[in-house]
Symmetry: C2
Subunit: 120 residues, 2 copies
DNA sequence: TAGGTTTTACTAATTATTTAATAGTATATT
DNA sequence: AATATACTATTAAATAATTAGTAAAACCTA
């Protein structure tokens, strides 16, 4: 999987959110100052050539939808961070975070309970 | 703090590792095919203008050293990932990771023990 | 001291990314 | 039919990132 550039990622976030969208729907969700319609259109087409997005023709226009899921990209991103900064170890990352946030043992317990519940 | 580009980050990783280094030391540690000496030199000077690195003149040459620590940049990177992909919640990220790796409750316990030990 | 070496500083060239204008096509509207 | 509207496709222009050549300074060596 190839990494997204910042502008591409911004648009993917919106597509993941909307699940399917026309160019105008994406544009609508963008922060001010909004870029030109064609700027968005171009990026979506780049995302399509990169294999992140497909479209179905609806009448004269295109409805776009993600084919790389947000989870897949999340996973890719975590892995990149882990391997670059924590020797590939999630435990190291968790420790780092805990120290940085000054989490005490109880707070760590609470987080892990949450995780356990969620995993079930 | 400003994000590093890929090439800049690569060189920072080496500087963090070496703590202090001449251009040639950094070059030495780079993967083949090695870039030109001047390429490395340029990037280090960019890092200096970005405020990640300083140097002390040693004789005719410069010894470079990081002034943004790896921990500071780690922290920045985690935060960026959390806010972009996990609604800012470390718990969510941990859950995501646990599910993805199919961690069972025992494995989660083990990680938590490790983190607790480390935090003390 | 003349010629080679090492290094920094400056600058240019290349490639990637971002942005949007322009042109073309189809549909709706008057 | 002529005009406006809504879109896609192509292309160009602007900016950022990457790579490295060239010049200049400082040193080393025969």
């Amino acid at each position: 999987m190839k990494a997204l550039t910042k502008a591409e990622e911004q648009i993917m976030q919106i597509l993941w959110d909307l699940k399917e969208a026309y160019v105008k729907d994406v544009l609508e969700r963008m922060d001010d100052p909004k870029p030109a319609y064609n700027t968005v259109s171009t990026f979506i087409r780049i995302l399509e050539t990169k294999g992140f997005v497909k479209h179905r023709p609806i009448g004269k226009s295109h409805q776009y939808y993600p084919i790389v899921t947000k989870d897949e990209y999340r996973s890719f991103s975590i892995r990149r961070l882990l391997s670059g900064y924590f020797g590939g170890s999630f435990t190291k990352m968790a420790s780092f975070f805990a120290k940085e946030e000054n989490l005490d043992v109880n707070e760590i317990e609470r987080i892990m309970e949450e995780v356990k519940k969620d995993v079930k």
